[in-house]
Amino acid sequence: MARGDVEFVEFVRASSARLQHAAYLLTGDRHQAEDDVQTVLVRVYTAWPRIRRQDPFAYARKVLANMVIDRWRRPIREDATEELPERPIPDLADGVATQEWLLRALALLSPRERTIVVLRHFWDLSEADVAVELKVSVGTVKSTASRALAKMRMSEALMERVS
């Protein structure tokens, strides 16, 4: 195996768990997340000779974020809805409940809002870095993040009221 391939295998081993976690937050679906990470890694491997000396993890993160947004731009897509999906209300005392709430709250967001929230609060990127990564203005990042958090708060309030 070539040296570059060895490095790539090491990269996959080190990064796949976090990428899958992020993909799961972005898609809300385990199988979709697995497929997306597989696709992202294929693209990373394609570009590996070029990016291996730069920041392959940032490249993978960027591909993943843009892939989610691009999927949303396609003619057939699933739009975000103001209506909460019909799911059983979890027990908030349970540790799993936080994850449930998180996914339900993220499901309220548009793909762009969701992507910005994940980049800001999961990857811990600055607003400026998010803007660069998504090729939008910092103002767009701020307003979108603010709107997204408002939606999520509404979800949380609803959960508390139901519980």
Partner: protein, 232 residues
């Protein structure tokens, strides 16, 4: 802890899902194919781009060549005729060789059918004044511009000669991208100007197939209207 902190904490928690391990071999197989395809496309694109650039450059060159009136193709030297008698001034080119000095003059001759015509003659002039024609070329004196542009090789050291009809003061010439010095002398009897290129090492290669750019300028240094290439 505010909303954002709680959100970050929730996101940091490991998901309640068990993800399948990444199939690295499959990733590398598909990625390798994509990389090879991309390299092939990049190579093909570079070849196409190179061909396009080369084609456009060649096209422009051909177009310019077609448009460039100051480009003349040197005609083949004619066979030597005998019994040529100078008519008007015998122009000494100043170019000497083992057989004498190269001179240019016009001759008025009759061909086998009895028709009269002018000829431009390149000849050797010996020390005793004897003229030995080396090359002759038919001369048409009508019309302004360059006429009878002919290579002096073989048989003479003169790389190129001819005559110009019109008020020319000096000539310029370019061969193979470098200037080729050209001298001229007026022949008042025929109201034309003989011109000839001076011998240069890199001008020895001028042949029938060579392309030489000739220009004629007036006494103000302006290019004559018909001062590019052969007049007719």
């Amino acid at each position: 802890m505010n909303d954002v902190d709680r959100l970050r904490e929730a996101m940091a928690e490991p998901p309640d899902q068990c993800f399948a391990p990444v199939d690295v071999a499959r990733v590398m197989r598909i990625g390798g194919r994509r990389r090879a395809r991309r390299r092939l496309l990049t190579g093909a694109a570079m070849i196409v781009a190179f061909m396009a650039v080369a084609g456009s450059v060649l096209g422009v060159q051909i177009f310019r060549d077609a448009q460039d009136h100051n480009t003349v193709t040197v005609s083949a030297p004619h066979t030597v005729t005998t019994d040529v008698v100078p008519m008007g001034t015998v122009v000494d080119t100043g170019i000497a060789d083992a057989e004498g000095r190269a001179v240019l003059f016009f001759a008025h001759v009759r061909d086998a059918t009895g028709s009269a015509k002018y000829q431009l003659v390149l000849a050797h002039k010996a020390a005793d004044g004897k003229l030995t024609p080396t090359l002759t070329v038919d001369a048409d004196l009508a019309g302004n511009g360059f006429h009878s542009v002919t290579t002096g090789h073989p048989g003479s050291y003169v790389p190129l000669f001819g005559f110009f009809v019109g008020p020319v003061q000096h000539f310029k010439s370019v061969y193979a991208g470098t200037p080729l010095p050209v001298d001229g002398q007026r022949v008042p009897e025929l109201n034309v100007t003989m011109f000839w290129a001076l011998p240069k090492y890199d001008a020895e290669g001028i042949t029938q197939a060579s392309v030489v750019q000739l220009s004629a300028f007036d006494d103000q240094g302006a290019l004559l209207d018909y001062g590019q290439g052969p007049g007719r």
